[in-house]
Structures are given as structure tokens and as C-alpha cells.
Symmetry: C4
Subunit: 272 residues, 4 copies
């Protein structure tokens, strides 16, 4: 059983960090809207036409959101028992980095360090990572990804080696006049082709180059199966385990369906 | 055992809503041909050359089909016991929305509200959704999709967050002169690249941009495995369950494991 | 034990239709080389430069191969007991259709029916289907494809309906000036996009069109999982069954590894 | 138990060929950095701007690395008992082929055989294959690929036959004026389309050609499931087997099923 919150700090903690009370749910919805608006503002600001016409409105809205996020940041710090635990957590860093740029923009406004400023302002896009809070940590999906991380890393490493070798071969075959002006560019082309993206900004023109390119494509088409195989077998394993963890109290047979009431091996009743 | 239909309403209901009598099958085939012709007419009408030459023929054919669909709509209403159940069902709304535009076109013909009219006329393409009737609801395929809906939503949400962040980074790296004129446009490019579509209308030109783009492509190539893993493990589960078609002789509950000896619902023995 | 062939017809039958004697293997290798050369000739003939320079050599080579295939065709007919069984089989028809065009070309040489002639000559490319003989019919791979045929057909049908609706929507949004000149063309674009091919010959230019296109791409990226899921679950099923069909002679327990010598359930010896 | 190395040859062997001592680990890290720098140099050398500005630095760095690799090559030969075993192994050949080009460049410097020289120099990119040493041979990932090699070969063979037939059909439909100038080029287009790469350098322009292309794309989208299905079912099998790490206490045979009670090799009881 959960104790009733007793002082304002505990109440605040429940509203901000938890989602199972009325206040907590309301806070989450407001936060969700604020994050999405903020990301929308960053994106619209970068469109020249919109910046010219509605620049002032966007700026005001951005300041309102920045102040709201600042208040949220301060409340999070004062409502937790060990503030350092929050400040140096993943979300604490994201919250800080996505709030500070707007304040910094005051000091840089007179200067001409536009590129640095632009980069700083765009940091606010990372506010979208705050949404990760709403996905939930114990997700099977993330478990499967984590379990197959090492295998996928080996695979991607193998793909990169392949692209380097194939890119070098195509650089030799096609040469600079067909767009394959250097090995790094040819490797870029090999990545574009092997992953089946295929922009077409660089494409082989000689018959032999097209022949080799065809082989690369079919290869890419074939090896796309590998990461899929890895993740699928990992997921099947995880979901199988999660499917049903009960075992019969009489014969200890497992493998029951989720809606099973009686053991399918000995017929005795299951405790659900 | 099924009773013989006794009055014309019941007979009509059987022909229109069911497919296991001779009349019902004939009705379904006529409907199938009418839907496909109608969709073909909508598509051909939009081709300027064909509209100029055969516009009149298409118009006449369209009117014939519209009247046929109107009759079908009315018959469906009068042959069912609770008309409101049909009218507000998915198919009822589709049937209505795909029949009405042609009638509305009479009133709008003199005016110049061409765009609105065009949109209305094109609503008829949704007639193709009537074909869904022929697929069957109890399809394993749709079951697997529904079962993995939540997981796929989380995945697509994750892909969109990734595209927003990657798009913003590329906007900073490449800048407007290489086609990355705004963040929304860069995010569009990131989606085009990560999903391995790769139009090539926007493509990185700076070496560093091409390097980052390569990483995005390999990433997209790797994470395509995730939805596949989800659906596959879901499908394997559903098909596994369906492999066993026995139902309990006592409570007629299905869905037993292959090696089940006792019913998991009532505990009585199964005849294997 | 196999009986020795007794007359020349049986001997011929063994050489042509079977591959387990020395003569049969030799015949298969000659046939393989002839098919591949023939396909190469058809392909080279279509390249203008090569046709101009080496047209005569190609023509002579083509006549030699055609006569060889004719002899093969006649031998196949006379060495089999029921010739009609071969003539109307899949391979019989392929063998006939891919041999006859060269003979017909004599009669058409004076006339100017170039397109018909070209189409006839190109029929010879189907000779490549003769290679199917070397794959083997009892392939698990083809079994899995056949087993999931119905499900994949439902899926492709669903993809086509989706493309028609999405194509119509994009036709409305983008309009003719951006390349979406008619609904069939827009549907073509939707297919190109949803299947992640992405030529870029037609691409959305309006911000809203790019937004809708992004959704289509992510959708296509998500539903590619469906056929994969179907085939994988089908294949896992078939390979599981094929893995090992022996069962223990003592306890009739199945599920042994391929190299198992003793039953893993009761410990008695297995008959391998 | 492992014996202590007794003479300098054994010590050297342990440092170079093994990674479980301090010296061995240090050697591996140095080798890793040297290989990556070397590959980076080859790639940068091919960029004209960098070659002009930093050509001398790259040349010196390349000579330093070449000498280091030469020393490594000689040490590997003298520290192994049977040098021929290393020299003619996969890594021995790679080590030789990737070291020799730099030395050969001295003799060719005066002549104008630039293309041959460039090809030779680029051989050094194969040094990256030395990295394979760090992946580990007993990888499940490589096992799954090897196990499904035959099935994937059949699949790719099938894809190539399909592309040849589809390319020939499109050559007939579209003709030379739309880019489909010859059958080999049309087959190249079919590969680009079926594998969903889609450069867009060649694209159908006639409505009928676009219709056929749409079918090819949907087909390609469907059959991408096949290699995935093969690898996934293979991987699931291998990972399933590996889940069980027990070995028979009598004959130390591994690879038992999870529910095995008796060893499938010698029939003695397993301790579960």
C-alpha cells in the first residue's frame, strides 16, 4: 500500500514524477503539449517565409515555453530528495540543454556569431527526447534491441567494410568522369546502393560498372535479411518468455496460454 | 440448421448480405465488377487526353454505376431489420460517401468551385474499400497486425523522433545552398533516407554531410529489422495457436496448445 | 536397385532426363552452357554497337544453338514413352517456344514487321527458364512460397488498394504542375514510394505534399514487415517438420537432432 | 593448463597470435590503429584536393605504415613453427598483397602506367580485411549465414532469372527512346527496381511501362521476405540449440535439445 503524501514536497513529487494520480496525469498532458509546441516552433523558425512573417509571434511563444520549462526544471530539483540524482540523469541533462539556449541567445544577439547561435538554438529540438518518458522503460521492444545490440554492431561493422571495398572497386571501374571522383565519394555511393536507398545523384554509366552495381544491389537485397533475423529471433525469445510465466501448481508444467484456467498437462486448476 | 428464407425481405437479405447461395454469389460478382469499373472510371477521368476524347462515355458509364450503387444502397437499407445498424457501420458510411458525389456534381456544375468539386468526385475512389468485404474479417493476417499495433506505433513514434533530430543535424551541416533550406524540409529528407526510399531530389553535397548521411542509411538499414521482428513473432504465435484446430468436447473452448492433454478452460480431457 | 537400360531409347532417356549417370551429367553440363550462351547472345544482339560489329557472328552462333536445341527437343520426344506428356508439360512448352522464333525469322526477314519480329526474337530469353530444371522441384524454398501464396496475395491486394487511395490523395494535394498529372500517374508514384524504390522522377514539392509523402514512406517501411512475417513463419514451420522426421522406435518421441544416435527421451538407440 | 613460454620465439608467438596476455592485447590495439590509419590514408589520397595539399605527408605516413606492416609480416613468419601454413593462409595472403604495392610503386614511378599503379596501390584497402581477426571465428552470426548459403544462392539465382525476363519485357514496352536502349541496360534497370534501390537514372515513361514497373516493384517488395525468412529460421534454429549449454557427462557431446533427458550421442543420462 502506498502512503498518502504528507507535505507539499511529496505532493509535488507525486504530480511531477508519477502518472497515477489525477494531478500527475494532468501535468503529463500539459508537458506533452508544451514539448510538441516547442519542437514545432523550432521547425517553423527555420522556414524563411514563416520567420519573416510570424517571427515575433514565434519568439514570444518560445519565451513562454522556455519559462515554463525553466519552472518545471526548478520544481523537479526541489521536489526530489537527492537533486544531484536528477540533474546528472539522462533526462536532467536533456532538460537543461534544451532550456538554456534561449537564455544564451540574449547575450549573443548583438554579435555576428550566427552559426554558433543557430546551432545553440537548434539544441532545443532535443526537447523531443523528453517524450521518451512516456514510452516506458520496461518495454519488450527496447529489451529486444538491447539484447541484439552486440550482434547488430558486428553486422554494421561488416557492412561498412564491404562498402569500403566495393567503393574502391567502383572507383577503379568508373573513374572520376562518371561522378566517382574519389574513394570516400565511391564509398558513399556504395552505402547508398547497398542499403537500397539509391538517390541516383551518383550512378554507374559504363556497362561493366552497371554489372558490378547490379551484383552489389542483389547482395544488399540479400543481406538485409541478417539484422532482421537477429532481431526477430531475439524478439521471439523475449516474447516467448513473457508470454506466460505461470507453471502448474500440481505438475509444474509450463507453457500455458494467457487465458488458461486449467493446466493443459494434468487438468488441475491454475492460480491466475 | 439454417431456416429457409420465408418472405422477400429475408430472401433479399440472403442475396445481398450472404455469399453461400447461388443468388448471393452472383450478386457479389456483379458488385465486384461494378466497383472495379467505377474505380477505373475515376482514374481514367483524371487523365486529360482520355477526358477530352471519351469524357462523355465515361460520364454516362459513371451515371449508370452511380444509379446501380444507389439501388444497392436502398436495397441494403430495406432488407435489414435495423437499418441504422447498417447506415452507421463502416461499410454503410463508405457506400453513402462514394455514391453521393455524383449527385452533388449536378448542383455544382454551373459554379466555378472546381477544386471542391474535384475533391468530391474523387471521393468515389473510396468505393474500392467496399472490396474489403471480400477479404473476410477473421483473417489471421489482420489479427497479427492488430496484435502488434501498439508495438508498431511505439516503433514509428521512435522513427519520427529520430528523423526530427537527424533532420536538424543535417540542416546545420549542409545548409540552404544544398537543398536543406529549412528544418521541415531536412526532416522530410531524413524520412526519405531512413526509410531507404531515396528520391534524390535532396541529397547531401558536402563530404561531411555525405558521411553523416551514410550513417543514417546504415541505421535505417539496421532498424528496418524491428517492425519485421514484431510482426513475425506475432504471426508465428497466431499461426502456432491455429495449427491446433481441436476444441474441447466438454466446453467447446478452442485455442489449446498442440501438446495439451486437458482443456485449459474447463479441465476436462481432450481427445487427441 | 536400378535396372540396366536395355535398348537405345532407355539409354537415351537416362542421359537426357536423369542426372545420376556419367552421360547424364555430361549432357546437363552441355545443356547448361548452351542455355547461358543463348541468353547471352539474345542480350548482346540488343546492344546496337555489338549488333553492328559482330551481328554476323552472333547470327551464326544463334543458328548453331537453335539447331542443337531442336535436336534436344526431338530427342526428348522420341525417348519418352508418352510424348504428349512432355510436349504439353511446362518444360515442353518452354522448349518449343524458345526454339521456334529463329525459324520464323526466315519468313519475316523480307517484311518490315519489325516490332513483331523483335518480340518473337526476344521470346528466346525464356530459354533461361530451362535452368529451373537444375533447381529441383522438391525445394523447401518453393514449398514455403507456395504455402504462403494466398496470404501474400491478400497482402499485395491490400497494398494496391492503399496505393490507389494514397495516389488519389496526393493528386489532389500536389496537382499537375508538380508532376502528379493524373490519378494513374499518382498511383504509380504511390507504388514507387510505398515499396521504398523511390526513383525521384516524380516527387512532391509542396510542404503539405512532402508531409503526406513522409507518412506514406514510414507506412511502407512499417508494412514491409508483413510479407516477411508471413514467409518466415511459413518457413519456420516447414523447416521444423523437415528437420528430422524420425521418431524413437521405443518411446516414439520425435524432435531429435539430425546427428542424434540415441533417443533424447528414453535413451534407446535410433535407426538412422 | 597452459605452459609458460620458454624462448623468445614462443613469447613472440604469444604476443602476435594470441590476445590473452598484456603484450598480446597491446599489440592488437596498435595493429587496429595502424590498419584504420592505413585505410584512411588510401581513401584521402584519392581526393584530389587533399592529394595536392597534403600529398607529401600522406606519402610519408604511408611509408611508415608499410614498413611497420612489413616488420609485422616478417615477425609472423619467424615466430610460427610452420611458416608456409601462415603464408598461404587467408590472412597471410592479405598481409602480403596489402604490403607489396607500396614497394612496387618505386619501380613504376618513372613510367606512365598510372592506371595499373593506381589499381595496385588500392590493393592496400584490403588491409581492412585484417580486421576480420577481431570479430572471432566461432560467431553464431557467421554460422547462420553459412547454414543458409545454399538456400540464399538459389534465391539470388531466381532473382537474376526474374530480372532478365522482366528487363527483356520492359525493353520491348519502353524502347530505346526512354532510356531502355538495350537488354543488358533494361536488365540493369530491373535489378535496380526489384531490389528497391531505384536510382531514377532510367525510369519508365509510357503509361503501360509504368504499370508493368509498378507490378515489378510490388513483386520486389514481396519477395524481399524470402531471404529474411531463410536467415531468420536458420538463426532461430542455431540460437535455440545454443541456448542449451550442457554437455554429456559421459561422452561430452554438446548440442542437446532443451528437454533432452538422455544424451543423443551415447545414450547415457544427462544431469539437468
Amino acid at each position: 500500500m502506498k502512503k498518502q503524501p504528507q507535505n507539499w514536497k511529496d505532493k509535488l513529487h507525486e504530480v511531477i514524477y508519477e502518472a497515477d494520480t489525477r494531478g500527475g496525469k494532468f501535468f503529463d498532458i500539459i508537458l506533452l503539449i508544451a514539448i510538441l509546441s516547442s519542437v514545432l516552433f523550432v521547425m517553423l523558425e527555420s522556414v524563411d517565409d514563416i520567420q519573416l512573417k510570424y517571427g515575433n509571434i514565434l519568439n514570444v511563444g518560445e519565451w513562454v515555453l522556455t519559462i515554463l520549462f525553466s519552472i518545471e526544471y526548478i520544481l523537479r530539483i526541489i521536489s526530489i530528495k537527492k537533486p544531484s540524482k536528477y540533474i546528472f540523469s539522462f533526462y536532467g541533462i536533456i532538460d537543461f540543454l534544451s532550456t538554456i539556449p534561449k537564455y544564451l541567445s540574449i547575450f549573443f544577439i548583438g554579435t555576428h556569431s550566427l552559426v554558433a547561435l543557430r546551432a545553440l538554438r537548434l539544441l532545443r529540438i532535443f526537447r523531443i527526447l523528453k517524450l521518451a518518458r512516456f514510452i516506458g522503460e520496461s518495454n519488450n521492444f527496447i529489451k529486444a534491441l538491447k539484447a541484439s545490440r552486440a550482434k547488430i554492431a558486428v553486422f554494421l561493422f561488416f557492412v561498412l567494410i564491404l562498402c569500403m571495398i566495393l567503393g574502391t572497386i567502383m572507383y577503379l571501374i568508373e573513374g572520376g568522369e562518371n561522378g566517382f571522383t574519389s574513394i570516400p565519394r565511391s564509398v558513399y555511393w556504395a552505402v547508398v546502393t547497398l542499403t537500397t536507398v539509391g538517390y541516383g545523384d551518383i550512378a554507374p554509366h559504363t556497362p561493366f560498372g552497371q554489372f558490378v552495381a547490379s551484383i552489389i544491389m542483389v547482395l544488399g537485397y540479400g543481406i538485409i535479411a541478417v539484422p532482421t533475423g537477429i532481431v526477430t529471433s531475439e524478439m521471439t525469445k523475449i516474447f516467448d518468455v513473457n508470454l506466460n510465466t505461470q507453471s502448474c501448481p500440481n505438475c509444474s508444467h509450463g507453457d500455458h496460454n494467457d487465458d488458461a484456467i486449467y493446466c493443459n498437462h494434468c487438468g488441475s486448476k491454475l492460480h491466475n
